[in-house]
Amino acid sequence: MSYPIDELGTDVGVIRVDGRLNMVTASQLKDTVADAVGTGRLRVVVDLTNTTFMDSSGLGALISGLKTARTAGGDLRIAGANEQVLMVLQLSNMDRILRPYETPESAFAD
């Protein structure tokens, strides 16, 4: 099972994660990022606007996805993180690697 991939512009794939990002859904996210990159969407945004919770398993899936995208010459960015997700990113010092953007549209605007 995987999350749907929406298109943004010509080569950005947006993966919307609803609900919890934990050990139950981590592999689902990893598979979806691999699908996106494998079908040419090398720039991936994980839209966390409707993500209610993330723990270290979810963070591990984001890091896995980031490596998958970068290995293919692309990148993975995150958008719409709530306070709990930001807390986990900051405590783990990963907010510098996975910089949180406000919206999917702004993630690759630079």
Partner: protein, 145 residues
């Protein structure tokens, strides 16, 4: 999962049986607890939910090929929230108290450091063939009037 047993207004318990239950059942249990405790702040809820998710995830991941029972207990007082888990899994190695994160590319190994960063006290013991974790989060105190 059985409905939460509530022996007192501040003491909540549930049993997670995995499989088929998952860490999601621990989240659902905690949501039931918070529904009865509007006094627990959003920050305290975030911390406690993250701690409990990491504890239960570790139990399930450390016992991938067997059924485990994980008793979860949450006690709330004006001064602290205490989260206890007691599981029937293999004996966990004594945890190394560390808040140090693994290297940035690592996809695993952040759960225990997160617990230590979010908790004010972490205890683990092996007793009666169970791993027992007791994690305490001190609550924010009201500013003096």
């Amino acid at each position: 999962m059985k409905p939460p047993n509530r022996p007192s207004p501040t003491d909540y318990q549930a049993v997670i049986r995995s499989p088929p239950e998952t860490v999601d059942d621990a989240h659902d249990f905690l949501n039931d607890v918070w529904a009865q405790h509007p006094d627990v702040t959003a920050e305290e809820r975030m911390a406690c939910e993250t701690i409990l998710s990491e504890l239960v995830t570790n139990v399930i991941q450390n016992n991938p090929h067997r059924e485990i029972f994980c008793d979860v207990r949450v006690r709330i007082t004006p001064g602290e929230v205490v989260i206890e888990t007691s599981d029937t899994g293999d004996e966990a190695p004594p945890p190394q108290p560390t808040a140090d994160m693994p290297e940035q590319q690592a996809e695993h190994g952040r759960g225990l450091p997160l617990i230590y960063l979010l908790a004010d006290d972490v205890q683990h013991r092996w007793q009666d063939a169970r791993n027992i974790w007791r994690v305490t989060r001190v609550r924010a105190t009201e500013p003096p009037q």
